[in-house]
Amino acid sequence: MAETMAATPTDAELVAGCRKGDPEAWNALVERFSRYVSAIATQAFRLAPHDAEDVFQTVFMRAYERLGSLRSDDAIRPWVGQLTRNCCLDLLRASGRIVPTEELEEQAADDVISRLDDAMMVRDGLSRLGPECQEILDRFFARDESYRTIGDALDIPAGTIASRISRCLGHLRAEVER
């Protein structure tokens, strides 16, 4: 198994592809930021699922329409984060659930977003690992799957999952600290 793999497209490459109208680039961009947008809505602002879905679709619609105004293609992540934050605040203010003076609430949300930024950086490192490490770590941590479920899905003995997770975490650590 390869421990690391050839580079996936950078954020800037995806943005450039989207600007050219490449549907695969758009699909990949949505896939790359879908967890981030969803997590900001549900964790930082604790929106109910239907509100979070509204924010999610609005963010990607605005991103699609305004991609041309992005000053630097590398800046897509903070830009998407800010779009999402603003959409969440707009929704909460429009529904009367917060008023603009509630700075403490916004600060708490910003603290969560800061941790999500860190988590995105780790996922970036994960994307540079081999496919088996990506699968195992994502299934165990992000999808909360059991050793048995992972073993069945990847056709590997469940008894070896713990050691593989540990080894893959070692590779991930080396990747993000590089």
């Binding site: 997590a39 999610f56 679709q57 619609m61 699609y64 999500l116 860190d118 996922r123 975490l169 600290e177």
Partner: protein
């Protein structure tokens, strides 16, 4: 340099579970939805009967026009022509 032990890496990985697949698929369809939307807005602006049909029954008017009433399209048209 920031250090990431295994526990911290695990915590950070847990923070980003997958978004619901339906949300992702709908967002990936946005470019097509956007194209539908642009065509529908142009039609509604030049055709009063179609504009009235949108007001009367938006989703049915879309189906008659041969456009799948995707939620994002319906919502945008509702805000623009119905609400």
């Amino acid at each position: 340099m920031t250090t990431y032990d295994e526990e911290r890496l695990g915590e950070l990985l847990r923070l980003l579970p997958p978004a619901p697949p339906g949300w992702v698929e709908a967002a990936q369809e946005l470019p097509r939805a956007r194209a539908d939307l642009d065509a529908l807005i142009a039609l509604a602006e030049r055709d009063a009967a179609f504009r009235q049909a949108l007001v009367d029954d938006l989703e049915d008017a879309l189906r008659v026009a041969g456009v799948e009433p995707r939620p994002v399209v319906v919502e945008h048209l509702r805000r623009r022509f119905v609400a």
